[in-house]
Every structure is written in C-alpha cells, then in structure tokens.
Amino acid sequence: MNKVDIVIVGGGPAGLAAAVAAYDDGAKSILILERDEQLGGILNQCIHNGFGLHTFKEELTGPEYADRFIRQVSERKIPFLLNTMVMEISPDRVVTAMNREDGMFQIKAKAVILAMGCRERPRGALNIPGYRPAGIFSAGTAQRLVNIEGYMPGKEVVILGSGDIGLIMARRMTLEGAKVKLVAELMPYSGGLKRNIVQCLDDFDIPLRLSHTVVDIEGKEHITAVTIAEVGADCKPIKGTEERYTCDTLLLSCGLIPENELSTAAGVALSPVTGGPVVNESLETNIEGVFACGNVLHVHDLVDFVSEEAAKAGVTASRFARGERSADSGREIAVKTEGGVRYTVPVTVRPDHVEENLTIRFRVGDVYKDSYVSVYFDDTRVRHQKKRILAPGEMEQVVILKKQLDEIPDLKTITVKIEP
C-alpha cells in the first residue's frame, strides 16, 4: 500500500489552499485526490467576478481565483490525481480511491484533510408538490450547463430560493437572453449576500419576493408554469395569495449541504446544525488525524475565507503528520452559542494549540440590525462589537488572541451571542 503523509480529499479551493499551506509548513509528501477532470472545484463554473477581494485585494473570476492556487500547487510540484473518486476513508486513515488508469487503490495517510465541498438541496427535499417534469434544476446544475457545457436550460425562468448561486444565475440567465420573472424566497430575508441582491437582481429589475414559495408545478413532461404563494410566519402558504407564472425553467437555490458521506463512514461526528464535522481549534475532527475545511466543514459565502480556513487545516495537518504536538496540559474550552448565533466553528478550543490568535466563525439565524456581537469568557463579557446589520446569508467571525486565553487559566466556556 502506498504511504503518503497527507491525503487531501478534494482539489477545490479548500483542498488547494490546504495543500499549499501544508507544503509551506514543511510537508513534502502530499497527494490531492480530485474527482473532476481539473483542479479548482466549483470555482471553474463560477465565471462571474467578485472573488479574491480579501485574499488578493482585487476582483477575480472564479476560474482566475482557482488558477492562483493551482499555480501555487504546480510551482510546489504537489502531486494530484484527477478524475479520481475517493470511495472510502477508514478511521485509521486508509483512503480507497478509484480512477480509469489506476483502478481501485488504497493509500495509507498520516493525516487526511476533508475538502469535499457541499451539494445543493434538491427539489425533493423541499417537498414542493406538483409534477416532476424536466426543466427543474438546482441552480448549480444550471450554472454548470450554461457555463461549462454552453447550453441554456430555457428562456422563461422562475427561481426559488435566494441563495447566492440562484442570485448569480438570475443575472447569468438574463445576460444570456432569458427572462427571469422573479426570485421567490421562503424566509422573510434573503439567504444570499447583499451585494449579490444589488448586482444580480436590483440592477436587472428582477423582483425578489420574500416570504413566498412555490406551491404547484405544472407540466407533465416539461415544466410549463409554477404557482407561488405568500407564506405566513409558520412558513405555510396563505390561501388566496397564489399567483401563477408561466415558465420553462425553475431554478432552486434553497441551501447547500456539506457532503459528508465519506466522513460519516469514517466515523467523523457531524454537527446537526451545519451538517459538517465537529472540529477543534486545529480543525481536527473527532477522528485523530482527520481534518476538515471549506464547505465540507460549514458552508461559506466567500471563497477567501475558505482559503484562509483551509490554510489553517493544512498547517495543523502538516504538524500532525510530522508528529509534532505542542505540550498539552489537557485544557479544553467549550465554545457555546446564545441569542441568535446558530453555530460556531470550532466548537472546542485547546488553548495549548492556539497560536497567535483564534478565529471563531459563525452564522446568525435571523436578521439583526444595530446589534452587538458579544463574546463572554465564562460570565465575563470580553468583547462587545456593534454591527449595523447581521444576516443569515453572511458568515461572521471574531478573533481572540492567544494571550487573552492564557490570562485565564481556568477558562471553561467561550460564549458567542448577539445582544441588542
């Protein structure tokens, strides 16, 4: 069996950044396994701009952003296999993979980095009643058909869900000559970034109907129309508010689900909130030597933060593979959420393993205006930062310095909460 220090499952933005960081930390035996025919992951179909503002201080397209990292990987001559599907990861880090050339093979890894990304919630999971005709796509599938295959799904489009891919596709389909009639969003707020609502909907006069959903789909062979209706506070349709729209395409952008089937089979514990692995400050899962980063860990809205997070996983995996472990006093702090914070990554912190600082990423469950993001060390508030707006569609973060943690040796709990 081949032996490799670090196997990275997925060659998208997370896998690439993790590989580069691990290499720069000194790991030289790395292998990236990518299921698609090229590196870059989903960025390859994200041909719009807006990537890299944080990382490179310039606006790049998805493929350009990916290319920056692919170059770094090739400069470092980090090995990768394309068209290669990982079939299984065992708890003792034997990775089974398969491709046309090598058949099915196994690799024993000292450390594994999970970077498989996420998938879209399909129509079936949304329990939308009606027929099941052709012409219904998750927004990302339509994006691939348009941007990679070069084909249009249709001319008259309704979009359900205001996730970022749906918003981006509203603009993309419009630019390709389609009529996007509306974007319906079940929640009273958008699931996407504010800038995408402005640039992709407002600029093209595409209406966003909050608190609306699709209640019927017509057309037995191909979709011909949908009925949308307003929903009440319970998210149930309100009778009498139905409106019918003819269309030949329905795009769904109703949430992303971290793709953790491999992780689960390996024994990795998942958070019921994010659907991603439960990790500590080193982005290590409950399975020793198995790390996670990017959208497989929790769904991000900006790739820049994926790269940053993945670099962290790359470094911690590299150190683990080297057998380098900082002296561990066994101290462990729980990170808790309160008042509107849905989750945090990480959920446990071992202060001995925190370097200069600790980034805690989180999302809120509702829209909060002129509120404060507070951090409590046990019962003491150590941070109280005003935010003009907090929205579920935008990931937030707080940074805690290592020395703050060191000042309180018996610290048990860090709590992140939103306060009025």
Binding site: R100, P122, R123, G124, A125, G130, L145, E149, P153
Partner: protein, 481 residues
Amino acid sequence: MYDIIILGAGVIGCAVARELSKYNAKILVLEKNEDVCSGTSKANSGIVHSGYDAHNGTLKARFNIEGNRMMGDVCNELDVPFDRIGSLTVCTDEKNISDLEALKERGEKNGVEGLTILSREDLLKVEPHIGDEVVAALYAPTAGVICPFKLTIAFAENAAVNGTEFRFDTEVKKVYCDNGIWHVVTDDEEYTAAVVVNAAGVYADVFHNMVSEKKLRITPRRGDYILLDRAVGGFVNHTIFQLPTKLGKGVLVTPTVHGNTIVGPTAVDMDDKECTATSAGGIDSVIEKSALSVKNLPIRQVITSFAGLRAHEDGGDFILGEPDDAPGFFDCAGIESPGLTASPAIGVYIADLIQKKYSLSEKADFIAQRKDILNPSTLSLEERNELIKREPAYGTIICRCESVTEGEILDAIRRPVGARSLDGVKRRTRAGMGRCQAGFCSPKVMEILRRELDIDLTQVTKSGGKSTIVNARTKDGDSNE
C-alpha cells in the same frame, strides 16, 4: 401481421411478453411512453405482498399467492433484487386485535404461510422505532421488497432477447376486430394480429370498452409517497402496514430493496389518467399518518416525493382473460395492488390461455436467464481492478451518491430495450436516484446519452417526449467547443 400485440410495457405487459416469448410467436409490445416501466409500474411501494389482504376467492388473492411463491425463482432467473424481509401490520387499539385475527384467518384461507400475531414486546425487539400506540401486529414472513423497475426491465429485456419486438413513443388510438383479425391503430401505423393483450394500466378500460359491450371503468387512484435517504437505512426492518380502520387504510413505512425508506401512499380518486402530481396535503398526510406506525421518522432526510396511479376498476378485482364478446382480446385490467406481486403469475396465466387456444409450440432455444447490469461494488478489489483494466469506464464514477460508474451506464444504454433518457438510465442503474437527485450527475449522463445515441444535447430528454433538458446553445456556446 403479428401473432400477438401487447398494449403497454408496464410490469404486466412485460411479464406477459416474457412468458409468451417462450413460444414460437411473433410478438409486438406497443408503449406510448419512451421506455418500459413508465406508468404505474414505476411509482408504487415496491412490495411483494404476502397475500392476507385480498378477500377469499378473488383473483387478487389467487394471483397474489401464486406471484409471491414464484417471485424468488423469477428474481433468481432474471437477476432482480428481491428481499423477503416480511411485513408487519400494526394495530394501535386493543379493541381492534380481533380485526388483526380476522386478517390472519383470511390470509390463512388464501394460503399465506407463517402468519403470526406479535405482541408489542416482541415487536420492539425487531422494530425499535415502532409507534407508542402500537399494541400488536400481524407478522407475514413471506412478504418482501423488490425493485419494481428492475423487475419490469428484466421481463422486457428477456422478452426482447427471445425475439419480442418493442415499439416506444407509440400511442394506440383504436383497436378493432375485422374478420377475426385484430387491428391496432396508432398515430402513424395500423398493426394487425391474431391476439391482443390489453395491459394498458389505467387505460385498460379505454381499450376494453372499444371491443366489448361489457364495460369497465378504471379510476386512477393517486397515491403520494415520500422517499428517504439511504443514510437512514435500517430505520425499519420490515414493511410496516397499518391495520385498516374506519379512518382509512393507513400508510406503509418500509425499507426499499436498495436501502432507502419509503412512506406512503395516500389514496385519492382522480379524473385525469395522467395526473401524477403530488399534493401538499398528500405529502403532509403521509407524514402525519406514518407517526402511528413509527416514531421520530427523520423527515429532514426526505430526498424526493412522487405520486403513482392505481388502476382501480369498479368491481375491485383483477380482470383477466377474454371477454365473452371479444375472442382473441385478453384483458389484464384493474391491476392495482397486489399487481406487482401478481405479475409473474399473471404472465404465466395469460400466456397459458393464449398458448392453449392457439396451440403455440415451445421455442427450442428460449433463453431463460438474464444477467443484470454488473454492479462493481459486489466485486473483490482484484476483480474490480481486472474489470477496470479491461473496461476503463468502470473506473469512472458518474453518480457519486449511488457510486454508479460510466461502465454501468453504458451497459444500461447498450443492452436490449436500453435506456434512452436520464430516467431510463436512472431506473436501470440508480444514477441520479440518490440524495443529490441528479444535481451532479445529470450533465455527465446527458453527455453519455448524447454520445451513445448520437444526438444533439438539446435532444437528450429526462423521460422522452417534450422533456428536453437544455434548449439552445449559449450566446458564445459554439466557441466553447
């Protein structure tokens, strides 16, 4: 001129075709959809019933029992996934235990073997998620789960290998008899045959009524289902029915033969024979009713919902054989539950009637065995690598949710009565049937279909007809080549 024309390529039409293909006869199957298994046969519970439910003396009872007994051998011969997991019919009220006993008695009279009544205590040992109100259940060990697509497809493939012709996208408009010759009129052709078999599902009354004065009326009775991810496999271990009460027949919760969990169906009589649209009320009611049988059903793991139409005839029983006033016209009408279970027995019964009446001779070279599409995950690592070396397409995963390789998809398209659409590939290989519901694999399967069928991508369909998936190139699409 054909000897026999079969109307409909559902599980009954295909089972009859397969049995008739044992004899020297020129057989044609006409199907209005683009593939076999496109109507009721594709949208049902996938259950092989034990046979306690049908009333004593009915055709449903007889063919249920016969079909159930045949199913193991048929599935071995045709390489169809079938698992005799047993069924439990749960009762939630002490007062109704006598009804459970009556069911047991009815089943025993029908010839069902091994029926026993289990106490709540016994049930909890085998079904830990059983509902709190369940007091007892009727256990039927001979019940099972089957892949309804694979059974239909296997019958069709085997019939085709043995010389049966299939014509798809062919809607029959008229059937009439002239001088003892049957004429079957479609949009663009008129076929003739000595015998017509009417296996037209919800449309069987339409064709029957064209040729007989003894009218039938089939009401499409819609049933909504929800399907859960394989990740919750093992939530239940048996098919769990509910004891019918004054409030209705209840819903079933069962593992499928592929390890998903299925819940349903509702029962709503429709006017429209094409109305397979689910309804919000139907899905809600399925979820609500399932709570009587099992608790904490993981609703968040629902990956799809669908509706099927039962072909319910007013008389309530199967109608099999020649009407008095239409010799040579063989009905298989009113085939609702337990039709899937009964299909092998109905196939033999109808084929026997025809064989005897027309003295058909047996084919010397009939091929009884059929091998399903190879599933590489059943191979050892060495065998799998040998396969990939020989056929590299088996090294490429196309559907990641169900781990389906390109090799399997090519086989599905290339074999007799092969797949010609995304749904055709899905029913044969499970590509697109998993948790992402074809989000990732559909562009790849579309490309394979385009290549294999030598058509344009704009002609690739989800399920034939107007169900195209893309309709034009993008503005600069041509330069993407």
